[in-house]
Symmetry: C2
Subunit: 241 residues, 2 copies
Amino acid sequence: MKTIVINNQKGGVGKTTVAVHLAWYLAEADRRVLVLDMDAQANATDTLKRYAGPASAADMFKPAAEIRPSGIDNLTLAPAVTSLTDVDRSEAGAILRLRENLMAADEHFDVCVIDTPPSLGLRSVAALVAASHVLSPIYLEDYSVKGVKGLLQTFIGAQQRYGRPDVSFLGLLPSIFNTRSPRQRAHLEQLLRDAGKYVFPGHIVARDGYAEAVAERAPVWTLKRRSAQEAGREIRAVLAK
Amino acid sequence: MKTIVINNQKGGVGKTTVAVHLAWYLAEADRRVLVLDMDAQANATDTLKRYAGPASAADMFKPAAEIRPSGIDNLTLAPAVTSLTDVDRSEAGAILRLRENLMAADEHFDVCVIDTPPSLGLRSVAALVAASHVLSPIYLEDYSVKGVKGLLQTFIGAQQRYGRPDVSFLGLLPSIFNTRSPRQRAHLEQLLRDAGKYVFPGHIVARDGYAEAVAERAPVWTLKRRSAQEAGREIRAVLAK
Ligand SMILES: Nc1ncnc2c1ncn2[C@@H]1O[C@H](COP(=O)(O)OP(=O)(O)OP(=O)(O)O)[C@@H](O)[C@H]1O
Ligand SMILES: Nc1ncnc2c1ncn2[C@@H]1O[C@H](COP(=O)(O)OP(=O)(O)OP(=O)(O)O)[C@@H](O)[C@H]1O
Ligand SMILES: [Mg+2]
Ligand SMILES: [Mg+2]
C-alpha cells in the first residue's frame, strides 16, 4: 500500500481540497482507497462523510487498530474526531503505531491518503513517518513561500530520525494560484530557481469550482459549470502525475 | 492593559494579516503596543521583526518573564521561536502563567495583540484565557463557516473553565471576502441569520494590497497603489470599531 501524506504547516493552502480530490481520483481509477483525516477541524470528514468506516483517525494511534473497508465506491474514510487533539500530548511511542497499523491494513487497500492539520505536532510527524510519498500544497504569497525552508527541513528531519530515507517527496504543489498576479508568478519563478528540484511539475489555479466542489461534496470534474470543468481537467492532469 | 487575541483554528483566514494591521493602527494612535507571535510559523515575526524586544513569545510561558518595551515607534514584538511547539506539551499550569506575565507587564503597555496558530493546543487556550477581547477572522467558504460553531464553543469553554466571564468576543470578522461571489455572500447572510450577534459589524475584502503590505512589511494604508489605498480606508474603519 502506498501512503500519500498531504502536509504543510501553513494554514489554508489547499491541503484538504487536494486530499479529497486525490482520493476521488484514485477511487475512480479502481484503487481501494483509505483516507485518514488527521485534522480535528474535520474538513475532509465533512466532505467524505458518506464513506466513513468503523475506525476513526484517532483509533489509528491505538495498538492493533482494525481498519476495514466501508464497501462504498472503493473509498473508506477514517474520520476525524475531537479527541485527535489529545494524540498530540501522548508519548512519542504513538508515532510508530500509526505506521504499524497501516502496514497491518495493507491487504485491504491499495493507497492511503492522509490529510494533516496546519501544525507540527505528533499527528503530523506520525503521518510523515508512515508516508511512502509526501505532497505539499503551497500558496504563492510571502507567508507560505517563506515557510518552505522549514517545511523541507521538517520532512528531511522526520526521515532521518525515524530511518525512512525511502520516502519520496512528490513536491511543492502551487495551489490557489492567481495566474494574473505578478507577485505570485514572481514567487513561482523564485522557487523554481532556489528549490527547483522540489517544485511539483504542475499547479492548481484559484477557481471558484474548487470551493463549490467541497461544498457540494463531489469532485470538481462532476460539476456542470465551465469553470468547474476546466478545474477538473487541470486537477486530473496534476493528480495523474 | 487590554489583551486582544486574534484566533481561529481554521488555517489561512487572515489572522496574521489582521493582527499586524491592528498593531500598526494602535501604535499610530499612540498606544504602547505589545505583539505576541504565538505561531511557530513566525509570520507576524517576519513582518514586525524590527520591533523585536528582549523577551520571546516562548519566554511568556516561563515564571516571572520580564517584558520590556523595544523603544521603537510604540511597538514591541515578542517574537515566535521554534521552541514554541514544545509549549503545547507542557503541563496545564503553563496556561495561567501567560496571563500572570501579561498582568505584570501592565504598566509598560496599553494594549497587547496576540496572533495565534491554526490549532487548539495549549498556546491558543492560554491566549484565550489571558484575553480581554477576542476577534476571529473567518473565510466565507464552507470549511471555515462550518468551523464557527466549534470556534464559539471553544471560546465559551475556555471562559467557563478558567473563570473569565468578562472576556468580550469582538466577533467573527469576514475576511479575504470576494464580494462578487454569490456563495460567499450567501454564507454571510446565513451567518447573520444563525449567529448574528457574533458577527463583527464590518468585513475585509480580498484585495491584492494586503498580501503586498505584509510582503513589504508596512501597513496597507502606506502603499501607493489605488487598491492598497482602498484597503487602507477599509481596514482602518474596521479597526476603529
Ligand atoms: N484551487 C482553489 N481555488 C479556489 N479556492 C480553493 C482552491 N483550493 C482550496 N480552495 C478554498 O480555499 C480554502 C482553503 O482550502 P483548504 O481548506 O483545502 O486548505 P487547507 O490547507 O486544508 O486548510 P487548513 O490549513 O485549515 O487545513 C477552502 O475554503 C477551499 O474551498
Ligand atoms: N484581505 C485579504 N485580501 C487578500 N489576501 C489576503 C487578505 N488577508 C490575508 N491575505 C493573504 O492570505 C494569506 C493568508 O493570510 P494569513 O496568513 O494572514 O492567514 P492566517 O489565518 O494567519 O494563516 P495561518 O492559519 O497559517 O496562521 C496570506 O498570504 C495573506 O497575504
Ligand atoms: Mg485542511
Ligand atoms: Mg497566521
